[in-house]
Amino acid sequence: MMKCNEAGAMMEKEEFEKLPFMKRFSLRFHLMMCKCCKGYEKDVTPLNSIIKSANSDHADTSLSDNEKTEMKSSIAQQ
């Protein structure tokens, strides 16, 4: 039987690409037998979305014109 280690990695991989048939089968089988991994399976997809929210596209910080001017002058000084 597939180990938890591998099952975890396969769940992550499955978020991005299709698994080969046998891997998919072993993973499903593992998830049927293993409560721990089954619990993690629920978290995989929402976790990815939450992690994605760390992207700076979602933030409202950027460099102001003032900061850029300051940056130019301190670069010139060095």
Binding site: N5, C36, I51, S56, Q78
Partner: protein, 186 residues
């Protein structure tokens, strides 16, 4: 060294590149001032080392490669300074697993309502990402935050494809536990 043929005008660098460099660094260091300083240091190092730039790549690629090195240096300094509560969970690469598995059946993260405008959630996950070990941090940001292609991430970090998913999994288990701690216990 064939450098005389092109004179590089560094005076427009801040206008041309600071925004993209800043976006890259703020995602990785999660601190406005620090991100800004790293960008500035990048420009200074680049101008000082202009002789080393042989025009084999674009100025943009070159600046990014300098910034990446500065970010890694920053992480290292940070890691040696901080006490790391998350490492108590035993996520170190060889032995960590058994302790983590015990917590794996909670599934509480799936109850978090995901909303990109949610500043607190964003702050929580960014804080958790900062707590990841250095060697995982860049990989998680490239693959899960910026959604780069797997091949690209493997090449950049010199890991194999199967290693990528193992690292992503271990890092995500740590992030999940960290989020549960920050989100549900505060």
């Amino acid at each position: 060294m064939p450098k005389a043929e092109q004179t590089i005008d560094t005076s427009t660098w801040v206008d041309d590149y600071s925004d993209m460099l800043y976006n890259f660094s703020v995602t990785r260091v999660n601190d406005h001032e620090m991100a800004k300083d790293l960008v500035q240091d990048t420009f200074v190092s680049a101008i000082k080392g202009l002789d080393n730039f042989q025009g084999k790549s674009t100025v943009k690629t070159w600046l990014f490669s300098i910034l990446k090195r500065k970010i890694i240096d920053h992480w290292r300094k940070q890691e040696s300074r901080q006490t790391r509560p998350m490492s108590a969970l035993g996520t170190d690469s060889e032995t960590g697993e058994s302790k983590i598995i015990e917590r794996q059946n909670k599934g509480a993260v799936s109850e978090i309502e995901i909303n990109y405008d949610n500043k607190e959630l964003r702050a929580a996950i960014m804080g958790c990402i900062q707590d990841l070990p250095d060697k995982w941090k860049g990989i998680v940001i490239d693959k899960l935050v910026e959604e780069k292609k797997s091949e690209e991430v493997c090449k950049e970090h010199e890991i194999t494809a199967s290693n990528l998913w193992v690292i992503i999994h271990r890092a995500k288990v740590q992030l999940r536990d960290c989020l549960e701690l920050k989100w549900f216990n505060s």
